[in-house]
Symmetry: C2
Subunit: 228 residues, 2 copies
């Protein structure tokens, strides 16, 4: 038991050593609509700095002054190998390159992001504050037989806010990994956030977010996030 | 000699292990004007993935199909310690946190960036392709007594394109480090690109970029970049 325990801890800390965190935007149709955005013709993505990762038990999400803070629950992929120029048709190659999964919350300074969008400025500040990436324990790959058949949810103060299946993704995982890998070589340990379903919204100080993931209706313990 | 040589190599390779690369935008007035941009009221910044770093001798910059590729020569800071919530007035704290310098070229897919700006999309693809960050050898800190009094230049096929003093920065280094550190904790090994002076422009296959840095009119060997 203690060996497993220690190995688990080591893995979690290793998440913060990711050389990059790549996030897919607008990957669920109803979420695109709720923010009055245009549906993308191809996946687009942005970076969050590894310094934004908030491990379990590492305290609350910091709310910078003047920030309208939104949650976005997302399935995260943790890469197990180097991937470069993968073809989108290579589904096996894509899935083989995944080492494990995690659940994550892509915290977003929505007002800063909206201002950046209006001015044509980068999103990296709005997405990149310290603590803006709460992440669960690592989910062993074998616990998720099909990453496109997983239910992810998020509650705020125990009220349901997000709950959808990853089968609703506009671009599936092989296409994402392919498109990213044609721009940026993916390295072992890199983290990919696969986009958020509908229901995003604000949290204020005192709110408690809980997020989780179900496979075949069964909740995975490792995927649970509880963060203030 | 061989010890120094080996230490130098180790340092260069360590650049690719940076946990993040943070880049300041629009930090020289004449460059803001040449791209018809608005002068920022405060520093803004974006990320490049460490996978975009191109070390000396690691081959040419890749020109992705359909990309209008632009160079931007920039002084790079390499951080020597963790910095969080630094006050802009703490000039000593800012300069003490710098471990060394490098010269760098912030390669940019200008057409992709212009489209992203128009659509309010992130810049990370336009800035983040593999090889889009050619970087020089590490410049020991003692070789640059004042980072705001350095001449940086870039030539294409031996024609002068960029040549200006870092004294023209709109926001100086303590302000940059302060603003970044209030969003993202800076970690040892992180790289900050301090913005580019006027004269940016396209390169096509076959063009050779050479960049360098002068202190008191004297060229620093370590800062030289030559890349196709
Ligand atoms: Mg998101
Ligand atoms: Mg690293
Ligand atoms: Mg630049």
């Amino acid at each position: 038991m203690s060996l497993i325990f220690r190995r688990g801890i080591a893995n979690m800390a290793s998440l913060k050593k990711a050389s990059k965190v790549v996030c897919i935007g607008r990957n669920y149709a109803d979420h695109v609509t709720e923010l009055n955005n245009q549906r993308p013709k191809q996946p687009f993505f942005f970076l969050k700095p590894p310094s934004s990762i908030l491990l379990k038990g590492d305290g609350p999400v910091i709310r910078p002054k003047g920030v309208d803070l939104h949650y976005e629950v997302e399935l995260a992929l943790i890469m197990g190998k180097t991937v470069k120029n993968l073809e989108a048709s290579d589904e096996k190659g894509a899935l083989d390159a995944i080492e494990s999964y995690a659940l994550s919350i892509d915290m977003t300074a929505r007002n800063a992001q909206n201002e950046a969008k209006k001015k044509g400025l980068p999103w990296d500040i709005a997405k990149g504050f310290d603590t803006f990436l709460p992440i669960s324990d690592i989910i062993p790959k074998s616990d998720i037989p099909d990453p496109h058949k997983v239910d992810i949810y998020l509650t705020v103060n125990n009220e349901h806010r997000q709950a959808d299946s990853t089968e609703l993704m506009l671009f599936q995982i092989p296409r994402m990994i392919s498109d990213i890998s044609k721009v940026m070589t993916l390295e072992k340990g890199d983290i990919i956030l696969t986009g958020t379903p509908k229901g995003v919204g604000p949290v204020v100080p005192g709110d408690v977010m809980r997020a989780g993931l179900k496979v075949g209706g069964k909740e995975l313990e490792a995927a649970k996030i509880e963060v203030a």
